[in-house]
């Protein structure tokens, strides 16, 4: 109670200074050039509540602002100072951090609607966006749901029903059995009819849960058993269906837009084949794979499906496309997709604006012939996760430094976080969607390289190393991709950028030049007469640089801001501004422009550079220090990361893990209260919990063992 009250006081005080901070808000982010006109006189809603958080909430608010619509944000208590809350005109707290108590809490959100008088709700994606119950409750209160009608959500939300409707609408569907499979033996019989391989999946499923691939009768029986168990536990619905498994397919989806008057359009495709664990990583529009005929065929089928379910609003029809350009209906997403910006980039339509207009009952402004493919757009999903572990295990932390590459042209960043934000365990670890645009695919890809190099993210582990590698990989560049791209290209897991000999030299030379620049600056004292003048200009440095246990002797000479570094008889010219305070290090290396980032620079010569997306640890020492270093003893680092001890005497408030749980690095393990303060104890590494030695309510002393990890 006390905490709540004092927090309220804090809020009040913050309010007093809020005026100042509102003015510098980042709503002016460069959105790709929408061709749509915002007509403020066109009557839509006065006030919209956005039942979501993070980047999509911010995305919706931006369009609302352009349309002159007031916005209401909802937030959990840990999100009270989140960006979407600051951007909205009003904000309502809907509960504590866990999503089922806040963003999924329909009662609280309905109350927020009443309290603020919002006339419509935009659900974003995820959370309540495809929840027919929510749509019903809104309808009952006379509040518009900015999305399709309940029956469309329901029809498309069920895999069996949606497939039947699709078939009826003459949409290509995957050969399979269009009904609920009763038992394992029936499954085997059906599988035999379809022909192996087959996919057994939960009717209510999604996200890869309850899915099994079977190549023979035996695997079918087994898959049936596992899938029905998984389906029952995950969705409370063990109905299964069987269909042909399309090996090595592409995932291509069609964006559709339909109004309440029976008009529907297809807004071209998005190629979303680059995935890991069924989650998309890099998307692009258009696809390199589709020819105009296939595109039209897919688009027309998508539109006929939308019409068949009387769809209104923006929606996405997902297809699997095999190597012969046969396409099969997969499912329809009855919401705004995460990757919608790339469609906006190539068509010029603001999809959120269109959704709002449609919800208001307006007819579509465009005809199919008005929908262009202008240029090429690529989207990289920037996640707070460690790409070196299964292409991405979540990481959490505070964004100690954060800078989006917004000063570059044709770059759009959709994000809902800012410097100082916490990436917490409660929500999706997506940092942002980085979108680049170009007249050609090549141009968009080049821009993506540049944007990734200029993106500053400190404080959490992120997947930029992986994104940067994907977009320059020859297979990706040539368009030769499938949903198996990552496991095929990196069969032993992602290992970061592999340096060529030339790149290695560039990296070594940069570290050496940076070292010298820092050394020279540390000799510059302003206005101090007691400093003896070091004739630095003319000096030649002999340095020893260590990278991956390899030692390199380097000669460095300097003229102004230009450094010439000699490595094994080869010369590398490095020049730049050498601003040692900046997170970015824009350099010219042998005439080529490169942006590196210096992640760490210590007095003992350690330098960590982010180069071509991957961070490399180097150590730069003078020749003298390097030669003396050989006398230094080898040290084996003590591993304390697997043992968590109480850092202070106190009482255990909560234990968030149990033996056998997998925890991410930085994830909360337990909470210790001391002096009425709650201290969150976190895992020092990602691991499985071996044993737990405390329970809530225990009193612990300093140094007491709390939890052991494996």
């Amino acid at each position: 109670m006390a905490a709540y009250r004092s927090a309220a006081g804090f809020q009040r005080v913050l309010h007093a200074v809020k005026h100042v901070c509102l003015s510098k808000q980042r709503c002016g982010v460069i959105i790709c050039r929408y061709s749509t006109v915002y007509d403020p006189t066109e009557k839509t809603f006065d006030k919209i509540l956005i039942a979501n958080r993070g980047e999509i909430a911010c995305r919706v608010i931006k369009t609302c602002k352009k349309m002159g619509i007031k916005t209401v944000a909802v937030h959990s208590d840990v999100d009270s100072s989140a960006v979407h809350v600051k951007m909205a005109d009003e904000a309502v707290c809907v509960g504590p951090a866990p999503t089922n108590k806040s963003y999924l809490n329909m009662d609280a959100i309905m109350n927020a609607i009443k309290q603020t008088g919002a006339q419509a709700v935009h659900p974003g994606y995820g959370f309540l966006s495809e929840n027919k119950e929510f749509a019903k409750r809104l309808a009952a209160e006379g509040v518009s749901f900015i999305g399709p009608d309940t029956h469309a959500i329901q029809a498309m939300g069920d895999k069996i029903e949606s497939k039947l409707i699709a078939k009826a609408a003459k949409v290509n569907t995957i050969p399979g059995y269009d009904g609920v499979v009763k038992d394992a033996e029936e499954a085997v019989k059906i599988a035999g009819e379809i022909g192996y391989p087959v996919m057994i999946k939960a009717s209510a499923g999604g996200g890869g849960k309850g899915m099994r691939i079977a190549w023979n009768d035996e695997e079918t029986r087994e898959g049936f058993r596992f899938s029905s168990q998984e389906a029952a536990s995950s969705f409370g619905d063990d109905r299964l269906l069987i269909e042909k498994f399309i090996d090595n397919p592409r995932h291509i989806e069609i964006q559709v837009l339909a109004d309440k008057h029976g008009n529907a359009l297809w807004l071209n495709e998005r190629e979303c084949s680059i995935q890991r664990r069924n989650q998309k990583v890099v998307e692009e529009a258009p696809s390199t794979f589709l020819d105009p005929d296939t595109r039209r065929a897919m688009g027309e089928q998508a539109v006929s499906l939308a019409k068949a379910v009387k769809y209104s609003s923006a929606g996405t029809v997902e297809f699997l496309v095999d190597s012969k350009k046969n396409f099969y209906f997969l499912e329809m997403n009855t919401r705004l997709q995460v990757e919608h910006p790339i469609t906006e980039c190539i068509t010029g339509l603001d999809l959120v604006q269109q959704m709002i207009r449609i919800a208001m009952g307006y007819k579509l402004q465009h005809k199919q012939s008005d929908i262009p493919i202008n240029g090429w757009a690529i989207e990289s999903r920037v996640y707070a996760e460690d790409p070196y572990k299964s292409f991405g295990l979540p990481s959490i932390g505070r964004l100690s430094q954060y800078q989006e590459p917004l000063d570059l042209h044709n770059v759009r960043v959709d994000s809902g976080i800012e410097e100082g934000s916490d990436i917490s365990i409660y929500y999706d670890p997506m940092i942002s969607k980085l979108v680049t645009y170009g007249k050609t695919r090549e141009e968009a890809l080049k821009k993506m390289e540049e944007a990734l190099d200029n993106y500053v993210i400190r404080g959490v582990t992120h997947n930029i190393p992986l994104l940067r590698e994907i977009i320059v990989h020859p297979r990706f560049v040539s368009g030769d991709i499938s949903t198996k791209f990552l496991p095929e290209v990196y069969p032993d897991g992602f290992k970061g950028h592999m340096l060529t000999a030339g790149e290695r030299r560039e990296l070594l030379a940069t570290a050496a030049a940076l070292y010298v620049a820092a050394q020279l600056r540390s000799q510059k004292f302003l206005g101090d007469l007691r400093v003896s003048v070091v004739p630095a200009e003319s000096r030649q440095w002999e340095l020893c640089v260590e990278l991956d246990k390899g030692l390199h002797m380097l000669g460095v000479s300097r003229s102004g801001n230009n450094y010439t570094v000699e490595i094994d008889g080869e010369k590398v010219e490095v020049s730049g501004e050498w601003n040692l305070a900046s997170a970015l290090l824009p350099l010219t290396i042998n005439g080529k422009h490169r942006t590196l980032q210096c992640l760490l620079r210590t007095a003992a010569g350690e330098i960590t550079l982010q180069y071509l997306g991957t961070s490399f640890k180097l150590r730069v020492l003078s020749k003298l220090a390097a030669s003396l270093s050989k006398h230094m003893p080898e040290k084996v680092p003590e591993d304390t990361s697997s043992i968590l001890r109480s850092p202070m005497p106190g009482s255990v408030v909560a234990v968030s893990v149990k033996p056998g749980d997998n925890v991410a690095e930085g994830q909360e393990i337990c909470v210790i209260e001391a002096m009425k303060m709650q201290n969150s104890m976190t895992a020092a590494k990602a691991a499985k919990v071996k044993s737990v030695h405390c329970k809530a309510g225990d009193t612990v002393g300093e140094g007491d063992l709390l939890v052991e990890l494996e």
């Binding site: 905490a3 927090a7 804090f10 007093a16 003992a604």
Partner: protein, 559 residues
């Protein structure tokens, strides 16, 4: 007692060395007394001959001898232990070619136990002294040479150190001591003890006049430990350095405790448990390179201003992350270092005692290039309360800054002093008074930022307006009050029915920065993201601050 211990411990330390020399038939091994008698052969070989070497040749020979210290074998043994030699250390610490050596020809004057023998004399004896430059700035240095008599301290050794200390004081330049010594030169007896005392006296006289830094790079035991203890900063090298009054053997015989050298006086012990050392580094190279970096923060003397280096970090940089760093719930912890790193130049913070009394954070940083001392409560550890150790840690740091013209920036989030018998019996009253005393007497520019809690007496202590804080800011999340709501309500509204309502009233009234702001106890309530900009501007204004305390012989801090 002390001497006895010294001998024992140095014997132990020298043991490895002794063996290796025995095998090759070499003789002298310094402080380890008792084996000097066998050597007679060479003693008479010298004397006047017709063609004795010229003075020039003798100079050369002596210089050469001084440069090789205890000889190649001992140098090799030193390296084998993972340690550098006295001269290698200086070469790494100082700018290239800047070292000017003093007293290369000084030899010890002991004539007992055969020490007068020529082969027992080493030009320069067991310490290398002189002056040099670190990034162009003057520094006096001594580096004890473990290869000569185990680095033991003779009268001559002490005299060499005293000479550079005297000169450092005269010209106003810091003294850095690289300690690697087995202890007193037992053969010299009281002369060695006198030498220690001469150094101690100079440590005390120099205190507050020039910065003094000790880097412990080997053994340092017995009385010898008091020289580092008197200096401003003591750094250690992990695994190869030890500091203790009496070694493990004596401890065992007196208290019957079994303890290893490392546990008793290693770097980990002193940086985490005892608070004797201020930082520990991985190895000699790492330590010396870090020392160079650290030196750049310090003024040369108490007459010199805090140094200003070239700075690339904009002075008016906004720090948006600070607006959300303090959590919504006032009981939830956050990391004060996030605030410090965000505000200071280039996120560079040289933390002092990072692993001791972690509920307070102290260290050096720069604001717009100028050195500042940072003091901050650490809500992440023990809620950032003040206790005995954190008070003493903070007080010593504040006094160093004040002595050497380094402005102090204080970040306050303190729920009070830590209650309990352990603290009361330990004397939290007099130890807590030290921090209060230090802040109150400091006349350097003092800027204070209350980030959240400033409760009770701890509020007064933490560089409050009342202790002559020059600029005191509160963030909107600040709560300046006698205590937290719950405790206060139990006293004010004792027995009253509706405690929750009473608490709400208290929170409304006191759990915010207004009560302090309306009284002028904080100068302004500021948007956190503007903190850096304001501090840089204030420091510029305060650069010409002049404030003096009343004349006194010296003050009487509650020790």
């Amino acid at each position: 007692m002390a001497t006895y211990t010294l001998m024992r411990s140095s014997l132990g330390l020298l043991h490895g060395l002794k063996c290796s020399f025995k095998s090759v038939g070499q003789i002298p091994y310094g402080a380890a007394a008792g084996a000097v008698t066998q050597v007679k052969g060479l003693q008479n070989a010298r004397g006047y001959s017709v063609n004795h070497p010229s003075v020039q040749e003798r100079i050369e020979k002596k210089r050469q001898a001084a440069l090789t210290g205890g000889g190649q074998l001992r140098i090799a043994a030193q390296h084998k232990r993972g340690k550098l030699t006295a001269r290698e250390r200086l070469e790494l610490l100082l700018d290239p070619d800047s070292f000017v050596e003093y007293d290369m020809f000084v030899e010890h004057r002991c004539s007992d136990f055969g020490m007068e023998a020529d082969h027992n004399k080493y030009p320069g004896d067991s310490v290398v002294t002189g002056q040099g430059r670190i990034n162009g700035r003057l520094v006096y240095v001594f580096s004890q040479d473990f290869t000569v008599f185990g680095g033991s301290l003779s009268g001559a050794h002490a005299q060499k150190i005293c000479k550079i200390m005297d000169q450092a004081m005269m010209v106003g330049a810091p003294v850095i001591g690289l300690n690697d010594s087995g202890g007193a030169r037992i053969q010299e007896g009281v002369e060695s003890l006198a030498g220690y005392a001469d150094i101690f006296l100079r440590n005390v006289m120099s205190s507050g006049v020039v910065p003094q830094i000790s880097l412990i790079m080997g053994p340092c035991a017995g009385g010898a430990v008091y020289s580092p203890a008197l200096t401003d900063f003591t750094f250690m090298v992990k695994d190869t350095s030890y500091l203790f009054i009496t070694g493990p053997d004596v401890v065992k015989s007196v208290t019957n405790e079994d303890v290893s050298q490392e546990e008793l006086g290693g770097a980990k012990t002193h940086t985490t448990v005892s608070g004797v050392a201020h930082r520990a580094f991985e190895n000699d190279v790492d330590a010396l390179l870090n020392l160079r970096d650290f030196f750049n923060f310090l003024p040369l003397s108490n007459k010199d201003p805090a140094p200003v280096t070239e700075c690339h970090d904009p002075r008016d940089r906004l720090v948006p992350g600070l607006d959300t760093v303090v959590p919504f719930e006032s009981t939830k912890a956050y990391d004060m270092l996030d605030i410090v790193h965000g505000i200071v130049d280039e996120r560079e913070f040289f933390e002092i005692m990072p692993n001791y009394a972690k509920n307070i954070v102290v260290g050096f940083a720069r604001m717009n290039g100028r050195t500042v001392g940072i003091v901050g409560n650490q809500p992440k550890v023990a809620s950032g309360c003040l206790d005995i150790n954190s008070s003493v840690k903070g007080a010593r740091f504040v006094r160093f800054c004040d002595a050497f013209n380094i402005p102090i920036i204080t970040f306050v989030d303190v729920p009070g002093f830590l209650p309990g018998t352990a603290q009361e019996y330990g004397g939290i009253i007099r130890h807590g008074a030290k921090l209060l005393y230090a802040f109150a007497e400091a006349t350097v520019p003092k800027i204070t930022v209350i980030t959240r809690k400033a409760y009770g007496g701890a509020y007064d202590v933490m560089s409050s307006k009342h202790l002559r804080g020059d600029v005191n800011y509160a963030w909107p999340s600040a709560e300046v009050a006698v205590m937290g709501a719950k405790g206060a309500v139990q006293i004010i509204f004792r027995g009253k029915e509706n405690q929750a309502e009473a608490e709400a009233e208290y929170v409304e009234k006191f759990a915010n920065p207004f009560p302090a702001a309306v009284r002028g106890f904080v100068d302004d309530i500021i948007q956190p993201s503007t903190t850096r900009k304001r501090i840089c501007r204030d420091l510029e204004v305060l650069a010409s601050k002049k404030q003096t305390n009343p004349w006194k012989k010296h003050a009487n801090i509650p020790l």
